[in-house]
């Protein structure tokens, strides 16, 4: 038997060509051409989310974000904690200080902020001035989330992220009012594909980490965490007497949630299992919304999942052809 000994130069060049191939594969994965249907779903879904968020908090808006002595805890504490992280993070304090220059009271500034947020949500829903509306929604929501930092919960985190991605995505989409009026040039399919990938990979991180952390808790394996979460005020929507009837189903559901989340980054990419995983995840979020009253959290997660994985991918060959013909 003869063995072929490669020279160091040829080994280096083989290694470099392997790296080159990996890089090309990575770029192919990141910039897979897409149409803008997923972006329209994300825009409409987030428009609805922002409008519902503003309407849900309408009666408590001033009470939550007013300064000390007027509101629940005063936004100064939340803003101080935020500014310890970085003074460059926007808060309502910035807007109130700006309003003072125009002789606007704190109450007026907060009202203007609320109206801006609701309008931005409605504009996104209709697809009117998509980019400015997305930026305004992200900014005002971020101010609210940071000023009320101690009052924030999961839904706020996901709303900030989703609006951040929407704001950077190649808006407007073809279903928007903007597109109908201005008839702008079609967006680069590869750029659309890139932003969809970002959303997809982000969701994989969310579920994997969430699932992993749940797997590390004993209560998810025996169903006691599901029981505790469902009877915990203010999430008590289902009467505990009714829950007791399903006590044998709780451990099975607890384990199913752990496995569903931790395996999401694998099975959501496989065509044969994608539909099942997506339906299960959407059902889980719908159940969280209905059984625990976490409507905003459920809605934002459903919107992100549908935009990322439910909207069918475009015919990539046709898109590549159209991209190259556009260039010519």
């Amino acid at each position: 038997m003869q063995s072929v000994v490669k020279s160091p130069e040829s080994q280096i060049s083989a290694g470099l060509s392997l790296l080159q191939k990996c890089w090309q594969h990575f770029l192919g994965f990141l910039f897979q051409p897409e149409n803008d249907t997923w972006l329209a779903v994300l825009r409409i879904g987030l428009g609805l989310q922002v409008a519902v968020y503003a309407l849900f908090l309408r009666s408590d808006w001033h009470y939550l974000f007013a300064s000390s002595g007027k509101g629940l805890v005063g936004r100064e504490v939340g803003e101080a904690i935020t500014s310890f992280d970085s003074p460059l993070i926007p808060t309502f304090g910035w807007l109130v200080a700006l309003g003072r220059n125009f002789n606007m009271s704190e109450e007026t500034v907060l009202t203007v902020g609320w109206v801006c947020l609701l309008s931005a949500g409605l504009f996104l829903l209709l697809g009117l001035l998509c980019r400015p509306a997305a930026i305004a929604a992200w900014f005002v929501h971020l101010c609210a989330a940071e000023s009320g930092g101690l009052l924030a919960y999961g839904a706020d985190v996901f709303m900030t992220t989703a609006l951040f991605y929407l704001m950077l995505s190649p808006l407007p989409d073809r279903y928007s009012f903007d597109q109908w009026v201005t008839k702008t040039k079609r967006r680069n399919p590869q750029l659309l594909g890139f932003w969809r990938r970002v959303l997809q990979v982000h969701l994989c991180f969310v579920y994997f980490i969430g699932g992993l952390a749940k797997c590390l808790g004993s209560g998810w394996w025996d169903g006691s965490n599901l029981w505790r979460s469902l009877i915990r005020p203010p999430f008590t929507v289902v009467p505990p007497d009714l829950l007791v009837r399903f006590k044998y189903a709780l451990p099975v559901l607890g384990i199913a949630i752990c496995l569903l989340e931790v395996s999401y980054p694998i099975f959501i990419w496989i065509k044969k299992t994608r539909f099942v995983w997506l339906v299960c995840i959407l059902a889980m979020h719908a159940a969280i919304g209905l059984l625990m009253g976490l409507y905003l959290f459920a809605l934002v997660m459903i919107v992100m999942n549908i935009a990322a994985f439910a909207v069918p991918s475009a015919n990539t060959t046709a898109l590549r052809r159209s991209t190259s013909s556009d260039r010519q």
């Binding site: 990575f26 504490v77 970085s86 971020l142 989330a145 101690l150 990938r197 980490i209 209560g219 505790r228």
Partner: protein, 199 residues
């Protein structure tokens, strides 16, 4: 081609930061000993958490521009916290009870209230953060603010006692046996309003 490289570089940095935040969160949970992993892992988890937070610049001085830049970006993108909601276990519920003492000797019991259910979720979120060690420096101030929000609606109250504690719900077997939740006081504060603040 250069726009692709720029986007790819941003993608790499963005998800590196997300990974660091998420891992720091998971390692913190392990280091606290709140998981099913053996306690021998706690020390390693503490070191791993430090490594993850170092990547986020949190070991640098508070005024370090890199640390501030990273923190600003994390908050702007909504990726400043990990995704371990209700994990590894559902957190204990907490309650703040306010005893209102009137001049005529009457005593009433109240809790901080909001109008909408959306805001009620946020109030619960605030109460659950209070026992956390990280919020210890602002705990008394926050309780005082919550007490003051109730006081504004009862201006004739002379003194107010705020008792904060954890609510332990019965497990499913205890519930079937008819047991109800128990309240475990953790700390309490007495507040009295100065005469000039009353008017």
């Amino acid at each position: 081609m250069s726009w692709k490289r720029i986007h790819a570089a941003w993608f790499g940095i963005h998800f590196f930061l997300i990974a660091a935040v998420c891992l720091a969160g998971v390692f913190w949970l392990i280091a606290q000993g709140s998981t099913i992993l053996p306690s021998a892992c706690n020390e390693y988890a503490r070191k791993a958490e430090l490594a993850a937070t170092w990547c986020l610049g949190k070991e640098a001085g508070a005024s370090n521009p890199l640390r501030r830049g990273i923190a600003t970006y994390l908050h702007a993108a909504g990726i400043q916290a990990g995704y371990s909601f209700f994990a590894p276990n559902v957190p204990t519920q907490h309650r703040l009870t306010l005893e209102l003492f009137y001049d005529d000797g009457r005593v009433e019991y109240e809790s901080p209230r909001v109008r909408s259910k959306g805001a009620a979720l946020r109030l619960e979120s605030l109460l659950d953060r209070l026992p956390d060690q990280r919020y210890e420096p602002v705990r008394e101030t926050l309780v005082k603010m919550l007490a003051f929000s109730v006081w504004r609606e009862h201006p004739d109250v002379k003194k107010l006692r705020a008792t904060f504690g954890s609510v332990n719900p019965p497990d499913i077997i205890e519930f079937e046996q008819g047991k109800t939740e128990t309240f475990q006081p953790m700390f309490s504060f007495d507040f009295s309003l100065r005469e000039e603040q009353r008017h």
